[in-house]
Structure formats: C-alpha cells, structure tokens
Symmetry: C2
Subunit: 239 residues, 2 copies
C-alpha cells in the first residue's frame, strides 16, 4: 500500500507506475521523530525538503510577548515548501504534535524527481497552491467568522483532507491536537475553545476527544462553518 504522500499526490494528478516507483524510492527510509520535537526552527538555515509519512505536525510562529500562533497543520502526506532551500533563513518553526515518521529529500534528488516526472512536479505544485489557498481560507476564518464557525470550518477542512488520503473510517480519524493547540491556531483561548467544542457536541455535529475526531453530521458541520471546499483544489483541470 502506497504511503500517505503518494496517496495525496495521486489526488492531484494521474501518476504512472513509474512516477509512483520514483516517489516510493525517494520516501523509502523515513526516520522516527518524537512528539513535540521541532523539525526546524525560525531563524534556522533551511535544509532538505521534508515529508510527513506518519503523525502530525504544526507550523507556528512565536511573538515577542511569548504567545504562539499556529499557521498550519501538517498531516501524513504533507510536506514543507518545495523551494525552501532557496531561503537564507526560516520565518517560522515546525514541530511534531505526536511521535511521527518523516522523510527528507535532498535538493539534488528533488530536482531529478521534478525534471524526470512532470506529473509528479505538477501534483506537487498543485499541492503547494492548495497550501496557499488554505492559508487564505484560514485568514478568512480569523477575520470574518465567529468562533463557532471558525472551529467548525477548521474541523471540516481537516476531516476532508484526512478523508482524501484515506485516514477516515466511519466518520472518525486520529487527530492528535490538544485544545491548547487549537486555541493557538484559531486565535482564541483554550477556555473558549472548550466551550465551543461543547456547543458543537451538543448540536450533534461532531465530537473531539483526546486524540480523535468523530464527525457525526458532516452536512450540519459544513453548514455551521459556511464551508466551501473549492480551495482544496480536488477538481482536476482537463488539459
């Protein structure tokens, strides 16, 4: 069975057996990383591209006053920016939230991969545009949605992304994200996140318990969120 990275890219372009073989080779030797470990820190000089094979991570920034803002969730299959190596230094940090397995792909290998496998390159570029669309959707949530809508919107997104790579079984999937992280992601306090989760639970929409999310009523959740999945770019462009 292909790993999450390959499953994800397959959703963005039709990969040949050869493409899949090259990707399998590039991600053959993941390393283990303990939970709450920084994969890279703000100010570091970027190294190779890395890919989450297993487990979750967050991108985050820390402000002078010590507060933290999470700007993205990386689930299995997600990777950092393709051209990260061109930067002099990182403008944010990335840390695992659980024990994880991560692959690194060196600059040279990545170039070879992109040059020899146009379908793979295409899929990766679409993945990157999707990440950018996700950032814009995030800003939209922060600026113009109420706290309930905001939480519901994020949960909708994570649910769909997890489903797209086959992580959801009977409306449930692993979501190793504490309420504290959620608060730092949505610009709220842990206390208020807790109340909102209770509200969504009582509405019969979803249930987040330690380490996993169950979406009892996807339609209701999407309606509460005002969710439009267009920014996830699952629709293919006919060439």
């Amino acid at each position: 069975m292909a790993n999450a990275f390959i499953r994800k890219l397959s959703g963005f372009a039709e990969l040949s057996g050869d493409d899949v073989a090259a990707l399998t080779k590039a991600t053959a030797f993941p390393r283990r990383v303990a939970k709450k470990t920084d994969l890279i820190r703000e100010g570091d000089r970027p190294g190779p591209v890395f890919v989450m094979i297993d487990g979750w991570a967050i991108r985050y920034k820390v402000l002078p006053n010590g507060s933290r803002q999470v700007t993205a969730f990386l689930m299995p299959g997600d990777c950092c920016d393709l051209h990260i190596g061109m930067l002099a230094e990182m403008d944010h940090s990335i840390a695992t939230t659980v024990d994880a397995r991560v692959c690194t792909i060196g600059r040279a290998d990545m170039d070879t991969l992109l040059d020899n496998h146009p379908k793979v390159a295409r899929a990766m570029y679409i993945a990157q545009l999707t990440d950018e669309g996700t950032l814009r959707a995030w800003i939209t949530s922060m600026g113009r949605r109420s706290s309930v809508e905001r939480v519901a919107h994020l949960m909708c997104e994570l649910y769909l992304r997890a489903r797209n790579i086959g992580l959801v079984t009977s409306r449930e999937f692993d979501l190793p994200i504490s309420q504290i992280i959620l608060a730092d992601a949505l610009g709220m306090t842990p206390v208020h996140i807790n109340r909102v989760l209770k509200e969504l639970r009582l509405a019969g929409a979803m249930l987040l318990k330690r380490g996993s999310l169950t979406v009892h009523d996807p339609e209701k959740l999407a309606e509460i969120a005002g969710f439009d999945e267009n920014y996830l770019h699952r629709k293919m462009r006919e060439l």
Copy 2:
C-alpha cells in the same frame, strides 16, 4: 528606469543585463485597468500569469453572508502565483483599488523565461515564498495581536515593501487603500479602524490620509507592532 517588477526581483537575486532585458521584453506592453475592476474572480478558470506594473490591487474572498476578507495587497511589482495555470478554478478574486497598469505573461513565455534565466526563476520563487510568509504573518496578526498592533504591523509591512522597490520619498508613499478595505483586511469594522488610525496619529507614529501614508516615526511604529521583518526575506543566501 526599470519597472517595479524588475526592481523587486533584483532585490531577491543578482540579475544580469541579459536577465533584465528578458524581463523588460516580457513586460513591455502593460494594459490599463480601471479602479475597482476584478482582474480575476473566484470560480474563474485561471489564464496567464499577471504582474502589477503600476497601481494597487487586493486579493479577497467573499463569504456566504456577504462579508469580505482581504488576504493580500498587491503593489507595483507584485504578481499572482506562478503556477496559477495548473488550477481548475480560482479560489479567490483579485481587484484593483485604483486605476492601474497590468502585464500578462503567457504560459509559454513564462516557461521560456524560467528555463533560460535561472536567476530570474530563483528570484520569482523567493518572491512566492515571501508571499507565503506574508500570509503566515497575517494570520499571526489576526490571531494574536491587538487591533492597534495589527494596524501598525500591516503599515510597517507595506512601508518596507514600498521602500524596497523605491516608492517611498521622505517617509511617505502612495497608499490607495480606504479604511473600509483596511477593515476587511484586518478583520475589524471601519469604525474601529478609524479610531485606531487616530490613536496612531496622536502617538506621532504615522498618518494615513486619502491615498497616502506618512510614517513619521518608523521605530515607534515597529515597536508598537512588534514587527520582525524576517518574513520578507531580504537577506540573501550565500551560495
């Protein structure tokens, strides 16, 4: 005198005379666009890449309930995503805020440019990573900064970006952005934006009047904002 696009890219990589000539050729024939005109709309199928030569534009999304969120300001020299053409449809709209001049670069021309001018390609990729860093800084502002800090932070960013392409004269530059747009950008109401601008004015930090911004005291403004310019990636990577 080189146009804003070339001035901006020169800040990200050392372009040769040949590189500049190719860019000049590619952006030789801008077209005029009236103010408040959509350059592209959410749901549209993307066309060629386009570049702002003169004038300002905003990226924005509109929610089901009619409210609007601005997710980026495009100033002269800025462009849309390089790989926009791979998407089946746009996930946001882009509109001018003033009369502007805009260039389009067709897919084939763009490919030629990127293949034959690695320095240009490098500069464009760094520009794109900077745009992404800007989105993350934006999220951080929305989530974890007070309204005064938020406004100050945005003004700092715009001031620096404008200065980097030579638009600032004696701490002043054209900023054709209404308080309403500002409100939609920062997730606030126009009323509150107005009060915050007054506060920053009385603090002697800056003055925003119809169409232009004067930063009387850049240090003070940066201090209020808790501004760190690292995400604008002006520092070059020694190869």
